[in-house]
């Protein structure tokens, strides 16, 4: 099953089992089923609760917050995660605030789904990974789709939190298979933090990465192992923020993400790991991310900016050998 189908199945299951859940977004209705087809079939099955909306990211995020205030659950699809900038006020100043600003906890069951990432030539305003802009908002939890965790579980967990959540879905994952890892590496743990490693071997380092760049990290792990005899373990947390990570016994950690340089999610992960594990690390956590640049449209220019397997390989090797 591909990630897109897994997401679609998760939404079907969610709407079937929770009759309060509404889904809103631009062009989400059948036969179109959303720009990336993730909502396919939902409007046919649940016509009352699936609303195709005007191009109004601010309002539909507010509508989701209103549904949540009234006790319903709501899932909003941003056609492109870049447009979450237009929903920022509703999300940050209303939905997330409402959880605690009225003095007692107000449950807010809502999820903003954001297709993110480049590699498809969509250009500077349709390719970003804006995770970093949402880090550190009280009452707002961040998740990222991964090929190693069933999205049904992710949605159940997000709604269970009863606070607004953003789910970042890297678009390159949509056509990737779930749970697929090529030997000799194996998927050793699924769930909240997935682990991909070489069974029975002690790794030289740990690479922490969001689900969207997992395959790029795995490609680097393969060349590092084959060409350089460097062994990495990959950890893919389903929830990006708040950060919660258990480190295996290593003294070197890398964080990989597609977001561009500056104020990154990785910096937050590094801070948490430094605070907790400083004494056992032999150097600071190394951040690997895209360049400090807009994301160009032309394939060769885009490749130069976005984080890729070679950059991961090179940085890990240089750091370990330094």
């Amino acid at each position: 099953m591909r990630v897109a189908e897994n997401l679609n199945a998760a939404l079907h299951g969610l709407m079937e089992h929770d009759p309060t859940v509404h889904l809103l977004g631009e062009d989400v209705a059948d036969p179109y089923g959303g720009a990336f087809k993730i909502t396919r079939g939902l409007s046919t099955r649940f016509p009352e609760r699936v609303l195709t909306t005007p191009i109004s990211e601010n309002a539909i995020t507010g509508v989701a917050a209103g549904l949540a205030l009234a006790g319903d659950g709501a899932v909003v699809e941003m056609m492109f995660g870049d447009f979450a900038a237009l929903a920022f006020d509703q999300l940050v100043n209303f939905a997330a605030k409402s959880v605690s600003m009225y003095g007692s906890r107000v449950p807010m069951r809502m999820v903003l789904r954001c297709p993110v990432g480049g590699g498809r030539g969509y250009g500077p305003t349709h390719s970003q990974s804006l995770q970093k802009h949402f880090v550190g908002v009280p009452g707002l939890a961040l998740y990222e789709t991964s090929p190693f965790r069933d999205n049904a579980e992710v949605f159940a967990e997000m709604l269970q939190r009863a606070e607004p959540c953003v789910l970042f879905e890297d678009k390159v994952l949509y056509t990737r298979a779930m749970y697929e890892v090529e030997p000799p590496f194996a998927l050793r743990a699924q769930g909240a933090v997935a682990e991909v490693s070489l069974p029975g071997e002690r790794p030289d380092c740990v690479v922490v990465a969001g689900g969207g760049v997992a395959h790029r990290v795995l490609a680097a792990m393969r060349t590092l192992l084959v060409e350089e005899d460097v062994l990495c373990t990959l950890l893919v947390p389903s929830r990006l923020y708040p950060v919660e990570l258990e480190l295996p016994e290593v003294d070197r950690v890398f964080v990989v993400e597609e977001g561009t340089a500056g104020g990154t999610w990785g910096a937050e992960v590094a801070h948490v790991l430094h605070t907790r594990h400083w004494s056992r690390l032999s150097g600071p956590v190394t951040l690997i991310h895209s360049a400090d640049s807009v994301i160009p449209t032309a394939a060769h220019l885009e490749r130069d900016v976005l984080v890729g397997a070679e950059a991961v390989h090179r940085t890990i090797l240089e750091t370990l050998r330094a």
């Binding site: 509404h22 009352e48 609303l51 909306t53 005007p54 109004s56 601010n58 309002a59 539909i60 995020t61 507010g62 509508v63 989701a64 917050a65 209103g66 549904l67 949540a68 205030l69 009234a70 006790g71 319903d72 709501a74 006020d89 509703q90 100043n93 209303f94 605030k97 409402s98 605690s100 600003m101 009225y102 003095g103 007692s104 107000v106």
Partner: protein, 307 residues
């Protein structure tokens, strides 16, 4: 300029012999006394932060209250004390909230602009509540048909894009949304003429949404005017109800940039002297009682420990 219904009925000798009920008058006067008390506490350095009083606009929520039902939601804004007091009659809880004392409605976290109690909610970001109210009314339409959401906004808030996104959705989805516009002719320091092209009526018309406008301060006249349209809101026909009103005081505190003439005009339109003149004895009695109550509330709340 249209003549207020209240003035008109006076002029033609048709003012209702009964006038406002004791309860209505008490509500009006309690809100006025509350807001005056706040400015007084501020001047004496006893309040923290900021506040926006509804002096001059008290009659708007008081007029609306009997048109609303317990199941209805009310969304308020930065100038929301009157909205809250008309709905919940709870000056103790509100003052405690504003002062961060025991008994605060929201534990002192929200303060003047962020209040939630039952189905009443206010927030301090302009235009934010209209989309939220669309979500609530979407729920109501299905789960509790007949209930509505009433959203108070000011004239200046029509500068926010979210307002138009929400009006579009309300019309499109036939939501039971009542938008109450308190058009006091000014937004902070900027007169409406300098921040709004066109009219509020024109905006409502653009979405095919019903619009009513009144400059009356007569509770009965306002209720009579609005009742049928509010009933229609409950059937999924949204309404923009525009009150041409007047802000007597500063935007928040000590920040009134208007000229003396303009402020005098606002005072000339105030409901307070008119109601006083219409029934001086009863008015004076109820006013004294309302002030005494608010004095007592303030004495009580200021003596309380922190929330």
């Amino acid at each position: 300029m249209s003549v207020s219904i209240w003035e008109r009925s006076h002029a033609s000798g048709q003012v209702s012999a009964v006038g406002p009920s004791d309860d209505d008058l008490t509500q009006l006067l309690t809100i006025r006394a509350f807001e005056r008390k706040l400015l007084d506490l501020f001047e004496r350095g006893m309040l923290n932060g900021t506040t926006h009083t509804c002096l001059g606009q008290e009659y708007v929520p008081v007029a609306l209250e009997p048109l609303l039902r317990p199941a209805d939601h009310v969304f308020s804004n930065h100038r929301g004390h009157g909205h809250y007091l008309a709905r919940h009659r709870d000056p103790e809880g509100l003052l405690a909230e504003i002062m961060g004392r025991r008994g605060a409605v929201c534990g002192g976290v929200g303060g003047s602009q962020h209040i939630r109690r039952d189905r009443y909610l206010s927030t301090g970001v302009q235009g934010e509540s209209l989309p939220v109210a669309c979500g609530v009314t979407l729920h109501l339409k299905r789960a509790e048909p007949g209930a509505l959401a009433c959203v108070y906004i000011g004239d200046g808030t029509f500068g926010e894009g979210g307002v138009y996104e929400a009006l579009n959705l309300a019309a499109l989805w036939q939501l039971p949304l009542l938008v109450v516009v308190e058009n006091n002719g000014i937004a902070q320091s900027t007169p409406t003429a300098r921040n709004m092209a066109g009219t509020i009526a024109g905006r409502a018309a653009a979405f095919g949404i019903a619009h009513l406008r009144t400059d009356s301060v007569d509770l009965d006249a306002i209720r009579t005017l609005l009742a049928p349209a509010v009933a229609a809101v409950r059937q999924g026909r949204p309404l923009v109800a525009e009150f041409a009103t007047h802000r007597l005081g500063p935007h928040s505190k000590g920040d009134d940039t208007r000229g003396a003439e303009e402020i005098a005009a606002a005072h000339a339109a105030d409901w307070y002297p008119r109601y006083a003149a219409a029934d001086p004895e009863r008015f004076a009695r109820l006013d004294a009682a309302a002030r005494a109550r608010i004095d007592a509330v303030a004495a009580d709340v200021t003596g309380r420990e922190p929330a």
